[in-house]
Symmetry: C2
Subunit: 396 residues, 2 copies
């Protein structure tokens, strides 16, 4: 048993949405919750103080990136990633599988932008080169220096134990959304063997290990995966490929219907506002995504309705010339530090002038916006009015 | 008369150093003081909140840059630069002359890096193209879009009145350090005519207009310039060229000896730690320089002795590999937020990983370091032990 625990505080009457708390050695995470991503142990353009001030509760870092730089041994020397980055709060790492696979899948199918990729604004780094998948694990070459590395269930867990996050994820094989049924099933079966080995490899008792569900777009494979993970793990991360937004919601539905209610569910790499509402409604507790900070560095900011709608994805672009004279904050109904302090006109100037402060301000607002949204969602579930809140936001 | 005033609180017995206060409509500036530079109305990689937290009291912005982008009319719409940038505290602008001249002088003498140039880390912008100097003023082409602009005493003051800083600077001609005596004298005479026109052009009474002293490396020209500025202005900015560090200190000595004691003296664009001590000793009240933020973006940070010395300019480089395992703060005796929160090992990682947070943290420390130094200097002067403090730091 792990010393990390999950408690459900309130279950919505009309939907699968629920309010809960994850208790970790580094503090409490209230759910539903969104996790900002700090790929390289830094949430880009922000400081831990910013994150605390806006109410962020957990930072997700990437095992692949931290393994290559600075290396898990160094993070371990500093007492784990939360201490290393001066955050000291709850953290999560992924398995590393996503990053090492994403290029392999892309190459195989000639797909260019299938999967997310987290890079610094001006960084022109290559992606990892996938050499070989075997029963043992994945052999790949570093995108930094070309050096060869093996990532396996055992090494992924060993690395994640040294990185020392409170929530960690079992090592999985990533299917392509273009795989046919048989290929997806083969991939799922490999994932199941790797998850079993991941469980066996765990030695620390103060980290909650999430099993990852896969099965692509196929309902029976998704059910099989959900049941397998539910049988062996205390926490469930929804991963793998989906065919469309509609299929993503089906996948979430299929999966959460076959996971014990008392287990926390994390939806990996998803964080659009409509996806958050649809996911929470289907019983997802936590989300992570690079979107708020990546958009922030491009000058794209979130806005409430009526300006923000499902159609424009609640997004506006500060680099547009018509903000030059605007004395308004980014979002008139937002209470974050940026919206209390700065005008759209000034932030527009910062982006025109390529000032780093611009990246900081819009990234700050975007994460704060999601923190406030998650708080609104938790309060609505508590008051049994989640469906109304969702209608308010989604316009349907 | 202007509503900005300067008061001397304590005069050192042994040297020309003094403690004072500049009272502006946006707040009080305690002197001796160092002004961080926010070239484009943003101190690079930092926010106004950071600046307030570390005790910064005045931000200097560049008239040339703000005239071209976003333009003084827009800043005026927002209530002036202090409000535009969300700083709300005291501000200063330079005359714009420095930037438009620096390339002209460089071209003329085939000099490459004679003068400072403030650019964003990744920005590859060209420099202004100087077209023609006449009695009227300077015709130049924008480094942004090649558009033609005229900067004259009248337009510089009009622009600075719209930008709305509390301290502004009269328009001046910039001599090259390679000019001979006659050419330097001609340049000084043009500066004097332009300063007279700058004075006549001023219409606002809530801005303190600094006259600029010139005269290159020549003592009698420096004396002439000091007397001229002292006769006509309530505040003195020391500008122009010098031949060496030693000559810079002579220039300061010659100049401050011929300026009325009650007038504030600003040393333009100078801010190395030894220069601050030598300047304060010779009666300089305020300094500005891009060094702490530019070094910050390169990973170079200030340290106290015994590690920091006059020889290494109190500088260390965080990108060096031997900081990988360091659990120490940037500077063991520094009390700033960065030194209380982060290790050298983590900041080293941020620079290796090209994370924007690294620029923020080292820039923050460097300015905070200078803010603490200036406070130490003010307290030492108050206690009549400035000479001892200077010896402590300089090791002589």
């Amino acid at each position: 048993m792990t010393s990390v625990s999950f408690t459900i505080i309130h279950q919505d009457k009309a939907t699968k949405a629920r309010v809960g708390e994850i208790h970790t050695p580094h503090g409490v995470v209230q759910t539903p919750q969104f996790f900002p991503v700090g790929t390289q142990a830094s949430v880009k353009a922000l400081t831990p103080r910013d994150l605390r001030d806006m109410g962020a509760q957990l930072v997700l870092a990437n095992t692949y990136h931290l393994h290559l730089r600075p290396g898990e041994d160094i993070i371990d020397e500093f007492g784990g990633v939360a201490e290393f980055m001066g955050w000291h709060g709850p953290t999560m790492t992924d398995s590393g599988g996503f990053q090492v696979f994403s290029l392999g899948v892309n190459l195989e199918h000639g797909m260019v932008k299938f999967l997310k990729e987290e890079e610094a604004v001006h960084e022109k780094e290559a992606k990892p080169r996938l050499n070989k998948i075997s029963e043992e694990g994945v052999l790949f070459q570093s995108h930094l220096d070309g050096s060869s590395h093996m990532l396996s269930p055992e090494s992924s867990i060993a690395i994640q134990e040294k990185i020392g996050a409170d929530l960690i994820v079992g090592f999985d094989d990533l299917e392509s959304p273009l795989y046919d049924y048989d290929k997806t099933r083969e991939s799922l079966e490999l994932t199941e063997r790797w998850l079993t080995r991941s469980l066996a490899a765990q030695t620390r008792t103060d980290q909650l290990l999430y099993g990852v569900t896969h099965g692509g777009k196929f309902e029976d494979l998704r059910l099989q995966s959900a049941k397998f993970v539910d049988e062996h793990f205390q926490a469930v991360a929804l991963g793998g490929a989906h065919a469309s937004k509609q299929n993503l919601y089906e996948v979430v539905d299929w999966t959460t219907s076959h996971i014990s209610l008392e287990k926390p569910r994390h939806l990996l790499g998803i964080g659009d506002i409509d996806d958050i509402f649809e996911g929470v409604e289907r019983g997802v507790d936590t989300f992570d995504c690079v979107t708020p900070t990546r958009l922030g560095r491009m000058g794209v900011f979130f806005v409430h309705g009526p300006t923000g709608t499902k159609e424009n994805r609640w997004r506006q672009d500060i680099t547009k010339a018509d903000y030059t004279h605007s004395h308004e904050p980014l979002d008139a109904t937002c209470s974050c530090m940026v919206c209390k302090t700065y005008t759209r006109g000034y932030i527009h100037h910062l982006f025109r002038a390529h000032e780093l402060e611009g990246y900081t301000l819009v990234s700050y607002h975007n994460i704060a916006f999601l923190m406030n949204l998650m708080k609104e969602i938790r309060e609505a579930i508590q008051d049994d009015r989640f469906t109304l809140l969702k209608k308010d936001w989604m316009g349907v």
